[in-house]
């Protein structure tokens, strides 16, 4: 008897196969493995039946606050937006879920056409010419965009604007450390006419939710022969001018807000778009339209000579497996929303955030410091932020992010369409009471 329901071979099947192979026992197949190192002791936790497995993981999940959360105001790179039933049902289809990278296009038109839809809709949302089939996550997309810009400009100086959050900067450092790339702060950029840079990285809405004047920054770096790379929040593009209308050369984003659960930070999807002239420097997979022998429209992976399996050490990136299934979620999400839906989600998030912020500002001890923000804002307070969050947690509400520095206590809230007007009012009431 086998220990696993995932193995169909019976003892008899095994015996027959070994006979055909001409081996007496399984061990006879392992002659190349050093004898002393064969069949080591393996001390693992005991195996669980399916039912026990569910019980165990339910128990683990209950040790997370999220199991009882009724609403969340937490953002900072991962956002709670409503996930439509269409998205949830389509990702369960095994034909999408359990297929491999579409190296055999004739047997993968489903994955390929969905990928083409994804590229099309992201390009439209960003108003950029081209988009690849997806990167690992937002910060890695931004880091690879910086490397890409340096290759295009043959200039290895990357200028970092203060709008870029610390976590993204850390990823950029890990990606560029051994590549002779110099990272400098925007404030240290020289005013000298003749100085040139590879690129300027800016995030808008920025790390505190405020809208940056990207166009102005674009002009500035273009005058120094560098590219502008904008990292953005894709939902905001339902309301705000997209990168393609801001003179942006390469635009990236964390795609998670478009129909993907926050899931403790992953799996997410990095969005990477650019002007068409730069496609030969794009990392990652790209799906293109073509025809088959009978001239029927069809889809295939394309421009593969950029990639590791062909170009090896000279590839534009080492990325191989990326995030196709998350791309499906994003594609179904955007198709479900349509132009009016995405606009509605953006506007609802905007207005609810501004309402919440202005009401909080009215409370003694709370001061709104953000001005031109989208859906995320900062409140300065005398109260210890952990105390604020504790009070909210008691009411099963997930509070904001503690961004206090040595000068003052600060809390950052994100608001989306998932924070109902009732919850917002309730939260205002709770925070209006004395906290200690």
């Amino acid at each position: 008897m086998k220990n696993s329901p995932y193995i169909p071979s019976t003892d008899l099947d095994q015996k027959e196969m070994l006979q055909t192979i001409g081996a007496k026992t399984f061990k006879d197949l392992l002659n190349d493995v050093p004898k002393k190192m064969l069949f080591p002791a393996l001390e693992l936790k005991e195996a669980l039946s399916e039912q026990e497995l569910v019980e165990f993981f339910e128990l683990m999940a209950n040790n997370n606050f999220a199991s009882k959360s009724i609403s969340s105001f937490m953002g900072g790179g991962a956002y709670n937006h409503y996930i439509p039933s269409t998205v949830k049902s389509m990702i369960q289809r095994g034909e999408f879920l359990t297929s491999y990278t579409p190296y055999q296009p004739e047997a993968s038109q489903g994955t390929l056409q969905v990928g083409f839809e994804f590229q099309s809709m992201i390009a439209q949302l960003f108003d950029m010419e081209v988009c690849n089939a997806g990167m690992y996550d937002g910060p890695t997309a931004l880091a690879e965009a910086a490397l890409m810009a340096c290759r295009i400009k043959r200039n290895n100086t990357v200028v970092i604007h203060s709008s870029i959050p610390e976590k993204s900067l850390e990823v950029i450092k890990a990606y560029s450390k051994w590549q002779d790339i110099e990272l400098i702060n925007y404030d240290d950029m020289s005013n000298d006419e003749s100085s040139e840079y590879g690129c300027l990285l800016v995030q808008s809405p920025n790390q505190y939710g405020e809208i940056e004047d990207v166009e102005k920054l674009a002009d500035e770096i273009h005058s120094k022969n560098g590219l502008i790379v904008q990292h953005t929040y894709p939902i905001s593009l339902g309301l705000l001018k997209p990168p393609g209308q801001l003179s942006v050369d390469i635009a990236t984003a964390e795609g998670q807000p478009l129909g993907v659960p926050v899931s403790f930070g992953g799996p997410f999807i990095g969005l990477l778009t650019c002007k068409k002239e730069y496609i030969r420097q794009l990392p990652g997979r790209i799906i293109g339209q073509t025809v088959d022998k009978n001239n029927k429209v069809s889809y295939a992976l394309t421009l593969q000579t950029r990639e590791q399996h062909i170009r090896r050490e000279s590839a534009t990136s080492n990325i191989c497996t990326s995030t196709q299934l998350i791309g499906l979620m994003v594609a179904v999400y955007l198709a479900t929303m349509g132009p009016n839906g995405i606009k509605s989600v953006a506007e609802t998030s905007y207005h609810r955030a501004h309402y919440f912020a202005s009401e909080l500002d009215k409370i003694d001890d709370f001061k709104l410091v953000s001005k031109n923000f989208f859906n995320e804002f900062v409140i300065e307070t005398k109260i210890d932020v952990s105390k604020i969050n504790k009070v909210l947690l008691k009411n099963n509400i997930e509070g904001g992010i503690d961004i206090s520095d040595k000068d003052s206590n600060k809390i950052m809230f994100a608001v989306t369409e998932l924070n109902s007007p009732e919850i917002i009012r309730k939260t205002i009431d709770i925070l209006g009471e004395k906290i200690d």
Partner: protein, 481 residues
């Protein structure tokens, strides 16, 4: 198979249709930002909900997948992806768990990660584990960063060479480049083993790391592994194992005991998480204890009764926005817990028997690269068939027509007309026998009627594509007619 063309959404779109109702704003409105920041219009499809569902459902039916077809794609370990793991990863307490939440409110997540770190450490014999890497390639990159930082720390900045066998996967040299290492190619023998003479000639005081795939990309266990790791260590270098092929080694042998210092493993292969048509994946990196202090962060440890995240002392840094591919980690841990030590060993045992059975039964029909026993996969060559005008790609396409996904073709690069077959433990003898019958039939057909193979596929939604046109004149997004 449905063979009607699926019209792109933008071409189905009609103003006034929608697929969802959304809540109204519901609070007093604020003025909008300055108009120079505002968008005018957005071009996205407008479709009704049923049309949307039908579109994506019909598209899904154009795919081959593990759930519908035998998928013997070598180096990809297309095993069954248990449904229970999907259900578990969707539990609210995981799926809606926010990554910026503080440690005391995410103890369940941290405990799972801590336990998974330990289980993977025990399975590979490399006890210090980071779950951060988002796929195999990122795991490789993390491993190389660790190797570089280690040498750096020991005042050996000069070590800037990665030795990489010519049979390696493309991500190996690509990752080496990203880590600023010069990729120096090591020859392999006809059987894909490291050429020891070549290795000895190329090893020197500038070698940072040897990147070795074990079992090799030919599906064979490197018989000189102990000698190889000794050569590298004697020269002060580290040994990295690409563990994409770990499905052959569960409970069979441990990397750590073979002298390997660093490895990665693809959870989306050996540990059954679904491949999703090309990700998301997860590629944890496992290292020997002396390298623990270089691991990426956040890393999870246990402190008293609590699980906490921390940054190892000489950490190579942060590889992504948060903790890694958490939803994938949950699935992989559920898989490991559903099997236990004995169950995992059986996985490898059956994967190896199935591959050897295929190799044995096909060796008279296809050229075999080695007469040795294989591990979890076997690499055949279509060189005989090529004499009749039938190439590996033709055989692959004909197999698609017969209802099987194709093996990996033209990899590893050192084998002419390579067909790399990995059946995994998930397949029954009956399924495997049908596949063998189809392979034999194709081999016979190559002598009698090669055109029938070179014209394939004929039974799929599309016939062979003009891939050259796709690259020559790239159409990468919907365009208005």
């Amino acid at each position: 198979m449905i063979n009607k063309e699926q019209t792109l959404l933008m071409n189905q779109s009609k103003k006034g249709r929608k697929a969802i109702n959304l809540p109204s704003i519901g609070v007093p409105e604020t003025s909008l930002p300055d108009s120079k920041f505002l968008r005018k219009d957005i071009e996205l499809p407008e479709v009704a909900q049923l049309d949307l569902i039908r579109y994506f459902t019909n598209l899904s039916s154009l795919n081959y997948s593990i759930d519908t077809n035998f998928y013997p794609l070598g180096s990809c370990t297309m095993k069954y992806n248990p449904k229970i793991n999907e259900q578990i990863s969707a539990i609210k307490g995981f799926a809606s768990s926010h990554p910026n939440q503080s440690d005391e409110n995410i103890q369940g997540n941290l405990e799972i990660m801590y336990d998974l770190q330990n289980e993977l450490g025990e399975i590979t014999g490399l006890p210090a584990v980071s779950l951060a890497p988002l796929a195999g390639a990122q795991g490789e990159y993390a491993g190389l960063l660790i190797a570089r930082e280690y040498h750096n720390h020991n005042n050996q900045k000069n070590r800037n060479i990665a030795l990489i066998p010519d049979s390696a996967h493309g991500t190996n040299p690509a990752s080496a480049s990203m880590a600023g290492l010069d990729a120096v190619t090591i020859k392999t023998t006809n059987e894909g083993d490291i050429d020891l003479e070549d290795l000895k000639n190329k090893v020197n005081e500038n070698v940072c790391v040897l990147m070795l795939t074990l079992p090799s990309t030919l599906g064979l266990f490197e018989p000189n592994i102990l000698e190889i790791t000794k050569i590298i260590h004697d020269n002060g270098g580290l040994v990295y194992a690409d563990g994409a092929n770990l499905n052959a080694l569960l409970g069979i042998t441990k990397f750590g005991e073979l002298g390997i210092d660093i490895c990665h493993s693809n959870l989306h292969k050996t540990f059954s998480t679904p491949h999703g048509g090309g990700g998301p994946g997860s590629g944890p990196v496992m290292v020997a204890k002396f390298l623990e202090k270089y691991l990426p962060y956040p890393h999870i440890k246990k402190d008293g009764g609590k699980f906490i995240q921390y940054k190892p002392e000489f950490s190579v840094g942060r590889l992504n926005g948060f903790y890694g591919s958490f939803g994938i980690l949950v699935r992989a841990y559920a898989y490991i817990r559903s099997l236990g030590a004995e169950g995992l060993r059986e996985i490898s045992e059956n994967a190896i028997i199935n591959a050897n059975y295929i190799q044995e039964r096909l060796k008279e029909h296809y050229e075999l690269t080695s007469s040795r026993r294989c591990m979890h996969e076997t690499v055949l060559s279509a060189s005989k068939q090529k004499e009749d005008g039938v190439k590996a790609i033709d055989i692959a396409k004909k197999l698609l027509d017969e209802g099987f996904h194709a093996p990996t073709m033209y990899f590893p690069l050192i084998v002419e007309e390579a067909l790399m077959i990995e059946p995994t433990e998930s397949e029954s003898k009956e399924t495997i026998d049908k596949f063998i019958t189809a392979m034999i039939k194709i081999s016979e057909l190559s002598k009698t009627n090669p055109d029938e193979i070179t014209n394939a596929p004929l039974n799929l939604p599309v016939e062979r594509l003009d891939e050259a046109q796709a690259a020559r004149n790239p159409v990468l997004a919907w365009e208005k007619k």
